[in-house]
């Protein structure tokens, strides 16, 4: 691969007064400045809900107009909660084709101006219609996955509480995160039930925000070493095993092969903890540890910034907030910042040379793995 992340930008996650186009432009600004406003010949945007006021926003032409990029080519992609990762992958593939030389990728979501039940109903787009008909929600299905996982490995709910505590400890150092304060295990256990055994602090919050990167052909800092995508059935009941996500295993295998590496060389990971127990499952599916061992990485604090393998140093989805279409790109931005040594207060104890970001659509219908490496120049 001969593509690298040249610059990044984030529009702070949280409850924002700005609309979708403004958030997207806010993230794009620093990314464009980072390459000295050099010409962009491809704009890739990602949003799941495309919320405007009152109707849906055609984000691609609106953002192109706002940024003066009407002369470039453009794509809009959508992959529910993995939209941002898919946008990144689409831009990498386009650049690798040789047709384009510099791409701006922007992933944005606006959610907090709608009532929560309305948003929740829209998010069921990530669930099979037959399961929606039963009154299933994403937290409801995640709760069933959690029950299967905990029971299979003889774990208790307090093990998943640690994932939430970790996320909030990390996000407290991230000025662009929705949640700026840590929480305790007792806070998590006392938060209201969403779907047993999942409580509010086990679930990533509805949020507004945007992320952006400029990708360039050629060598540079934060090289794209590997990208992988995996698919699985949308209907959850067709999965033979609910304690692992086959889509993530596929995506990871492809990305490791492309990067000619193994997980042992990966020194920082951003993963898709939309629900706390998923943090454990993803560590296992990425090959960091064996089945059922994810919890020990959190209880032994091996996931801290000075641990064996720092996980979600930017707070992950639980700490950063989850503007669905933006989260997948925000994880990639965090890995790039860590590789570039620009992570500020959340810099790792040992500057990483290689990092991995994982993002997922729904409960593993699609999974994306992106591996970035610091170029030695």
């Amino acid at each position: 691969m001969t593509t690298h992340v040249a610059s990044v930008g984030i529009a702070r996650f949280g409850k924002r007064s700005e609309g979708l186009v403004e958030l997207a432009a806010e993230a794009a600004g620093p990314a464009l400045d980072g390459v000295g406003r050099k010409p962009i010949d491809l704009l890739v945007v990602g949003t799941m809900l495309a919320h405007g006021d009152p109707g849906p926003v055609p984000l691609l032409p609106r953002l192109a107009g706002r940024l003066g990029l009407e002369s470039s080519s453009g794509l809009r992609v959508e992959a529910t909660s993995a939209t941002g990762a898919m946008a990144f992958h689409a831009a990498v593939l386009a650049l690798e084709s040789g047709r384009f030389s510099r791409a701006l990728v922007v992933a944005a979501e606006k959610m907090t101006d709608r009532p929560t039940p309305e948003i929740s109903a829209e998010l069921t787009a990530a669930i099979h219609p037959s399961e929606v008909a039963s009154g299933a929600t994403m937290p409801g299905l995640a709760a069933l996955v959690t029950q299967r996982y905990l029971e299979r490995y003889g774990l208790t709910t307090d093990m998943i509480d640690l994932v939430s505590v970790h996320a909030r400890r990390m996000s407290a150092d991230n000025p662009n995160a929705q949640f700026q304060s840590p929480v305790s295990v007792d806070d998590v256990a006392a938060s209201p039930v969403v779907a047993l055994p999942l409580r509010r602090l086990h679930c990533a919050a509805i949020s507004d925000g945007a992320a952006a990167v400029v990708l360039e052909r050629g060598a540079g800092p934060s090289a794209v070493l590997g990208i992988g995508q995996g698919f699985d059935s949308l209907r959850l009941v067709d999965r033979p095993d609910l304690t692992t996500f086959a889509a993530t295993r596929t995506a990871a295998r492809i990305a490791y092969e492309m990067a000619k590496t193994t997980r042992k060389e990966v020194e920082v990971v951003e993963l898709h903890d939309a629900f706390a127990p998923l943090g454990l499952v993803h560590l296992e599916d990425l090959g960091v540890c064996g089945p059922g061992e994810g919890a020990s990485w959190f209880s032994n604090r091996w996931v801290e910034r000075d641990g064996r393998l720092p996980v979600n140093p930017g707070g992950g989805l639980l700490g950063r907030g989850h503007p669905v279409g933006a989260s997948g790109l925000a994880g990639i931005v965090e890995v790039a910042l860590q590789l570039r040594g620009e992570a500020g207060a959340r810099a790792l104890a040992r500057p990483p040379k290689m990092g991995l970001a994982q993002s997922m659509s729904g409960l593993g219908t699609q999974s994306f793995v992106t591996i970035l490496g610091r170029s030695e120049t």
Binding site: S120, E131, P139, V194, V237
Partner: protein, 110 residues
């Protein structure tokens, strides 16, 4: 309602012999379009169950859902009528329009 006779309808792939819940597409395991109907007793074992306190519009809280295995390797999502069942509980399964319902107590006689 298939459950009236104490049975539910499944599909069987004539190519790989996999059994699965009826879908609007080909066999989820091998992709073959040669799929036949199959009727099995409307009873299953609870693999996991949850109680939703935050429910979709129009669904009363709490709402209970169970993942139920009806024959080996064939699972369905069922709305639980009554108390939250524990893992391993046998439940009767009735199809009610697009929805499966899990009923506690002895299975209906076929």
């Amino acid at each position: 309602v298939s459950g009236a006779r104490g049975t539910i309808d499944l599909s069987r792939c004539e190519a790989c012999l996999a059994r699965f819940l009826p879908t609007d597409g080909p066999c989820p395991r091998c992709g073959s379009a040669k799929v036949a109907a199959l009727s099995v007793p409307g009873v299953g074992k609870v693999l996991a169950a949850t109680e939703l306190h935050v429910t979709p519009p129009g669904v009363r809280s709490p709402h209970r859902l169970a993942l139920v295995e009806v024959v080996e390797a064939v699972r369905l999502l069922a709305v639980v009528e009554g108390a939250l069942p524990t893992r391993g509980t046998l439940v009767a399964i009735v199809k009610d329009g697009p929805v499966y319902r899990a009923l506690a107590g002895p299975p209906p006689v076929a």
